[in-house]
Amino acid sequence: MGLILSLIGIVATVWLGFTGRLGLYIHPRYTVFTLIMALLAGVIAVIAFTVVPGKDDEHGHDDAPPPTRRGRVLRRGKTAGLVAIVVVAMFALLVLPPSTLSAATAQERTVNAAAPAPNSSSIDSILTGADTSTFTVKDWSLYLRMGASDDFLASHPAEVVGFVSADPDDPQNVFYVTRFTITCCAVDATPIGLAVYLPGWSDRYHEGDWVSVNGSIVANPSSSSAEPFAIAPSQVSPVAEPPEPYVY
């Protein structure tokens, strides 16, 4: 059973790796290690298959006293449990299409609940000359929290891609362009986002839609939103989910 489960895990990992989708689940720094271990384990599993024949269909252990009725029921239950694990594992790892975390999880984890701690006072000097067109949601979110000046913001419009999630404090007027940031794997994914002030946005976009937003960052016009800054969008256009949906 262990060998079959191994093969399921290995095949799933290798397939994700070679179709470039391992990044949906783990941080890219693990990709090489994960693939090497998967291939190595695959070779060993195949060898073990040939050396340890019939392990799973021989449950008898002749030194032990003949199994009691209860023992037989237990063993049958255990086998059924193992079969169930294999079936579910095959379904989860081999049948389901790979996917990212949804906007529901972003809501549940509270966007920007755990913002990176500021660690610089002279943020504008760091940003001088920076190419803000390459800034991601994460970069902007970080620099806003570190106190980028109004002058800087006025002269540097943001252009970011993320999925839509509502601002719980002002869902009519404000939504977040959201990305998940990952340190290890999708389990620790933390949503971060830039607020976008666009009254009536929910008529045109649903939560979870991927959008590209252009516009300058201004003091948030919304009175109930907790976000001090928001993008006043000059353009919001729907886009396809990027191949690397997370930011690092």
Binding site: G2, V46, T50, V51, V95, A114
Partner: protein
């Protein structure tokens, strides 16, 4: 899954010991186990792999349109599996090396005799085996099959993921010397692991803390299978360990995924500034998130502004020792009662440690 360890050792390896003569099936297998049947199994393995790949490639590639909570449950669980699997394999390989390839007693004979000293040395063993916690379980099992006592193994399991070069470096990168977080983590982990080891050692019959199936495997391991080739024994050990570990990993990942979908995190973050509650909140978060000890410092760094340093230390000490996935893996070896005892002890120690950091800061 429990009995598979035992079965595998008796049935699958054609061991020429006493039991073989009582088991006609084994004797027959041993005689017949020639090239032909082996090639058959190879073909079967290749067919299985091809079938799995086929299934994967011909599964519909479309997007989900069902409830996104269910989708997130699967994504989270799969991510725990994909992330842990290579480390579990690495641990199993190291365990196999310890069981089969290292000369008997090379490691254990050099350990000090006195239990307290031995545990001190073992808690530093993680420096030699920089595997994170999911790889340590199979390694600890391998060491126990080679004669490590129950309390020794507990000390090793609790200490190794923290007293480990990769973990220390990443913690330093994340926090530096700020608030004594690094020092509290390393020293606290060291002390707690030895303390809990000492408590387990005080148990009147520590063997009763082990699951019956693992006890049996230990008994069998006592008789050396000298005449069976090492390759064969390695393959056998790999098959046994994957049979014990992978079902536990898959179930643990599913539970971790389910709880992640269910537990609201903002509930936890509202407790950040209370000296006691911040510790308890991050303890619970560490338990739920089941993140690898090598990188957990980066994860908790983002919580540094919301939580007091004692809470951060609690997360960094408790998480590597105990979490959902780890308990599921440890359950292959220790009884549920033992795990409740160990978890309660560790939690208590970590709360004291975290509270101390908060009040001292």
């Amino acid at each position: 899954m429990g009995s598979t360890i035992f079965d595998a050792d008796e049935d699958s390896l054609p061991v020429p010991d006493a039991s073989a003569t009582f088991n006609p099936r084994i004797r027959r297998d041993a005689q017949r186990g020639g090239r032909g049947s082996r090639r058959g199994w190879l073909v079967l393995a290749v067919i299985l792999i091809a079938a799995f790949f086929g299934l994967r490639m011909f599964s519909p590639a479309g997007d989900w349109d069902t409830a996104s909570v269910l989708q997130d449950f699967f994504t989270l669980s799969i991510s725990v599996v994909v992330e842990s699997l290579p480390f579990v394999f690495l641990g199993i390989l190291l365990s196999t090396v310890v069981q089969v390839w290292l000369p008997s007693g090379l490691l254990l004979r050099r350990l000090p005799r006195a239990p307290v000293l031995r545990r001190l040395v073992l808690s530093l063993l993680g420096v030699l085996f920089p595997v994170c916690e999911c790889g340590n379980m199979p390694l600890a099992r391998g060491l126990m099959l080679r004669g490590l006592t129950v309390s020794d193994s507990v000390t090793f399991l609790l200490a190794a993921p923290i007293l480990n070069p990769v973990t220390i470096i990443t913690t330093y990168q994340a926090f530096g010397w700020e608030d004594g977080i690094l020092v509290s983590r390393v020293l606290g982990g060291f002390v707690i692991a030895n303390l809990v080891g000492a408590v387990v050692a005080a148990h009147p019959s520590p063997d009763r803390l082990l699951t019956p199936s693992f006890q049996a495997a230990c008994d069998v391991a006592g008789h050396a299978h000298a005449s069976v080739s090492r390759i064969r024994r390695s393959a056998g050990a790999f098959a046994e360990e994957t049979s014990a570990m992978l079902p536990a990993l898959f179930v643990g990942s599913a539970i971790a995924g389910a709880i992640q979908v269910g537990v609201h995190r903002d509930l936890l973050s509202s407790l950040g500034s209370n000296p006691l509650l911040s510790v308890v909140a991050l303890l619970v978060l560490a338990f739920v998130v089941s993140i690898c000890s090598n990188v957990d410092a980066f994860f908790v760094l983002s919580l540094g502004s919301t939580f007091m340093p004692g809470g951060i230390v609690a997360f960094l000490v408790f998480g590597p020792m105990i979490d959902i996935k780890m308990l599921s893996l440890m359950r292959t070896t220790y009884t549920a009662r033992a795990l409740v005892l160990i978890t309660a002890l560790v939690a208590l120690c970590v709360i004291v440690l975290g509270l101390g950091v908060n009040l001292g800061a």
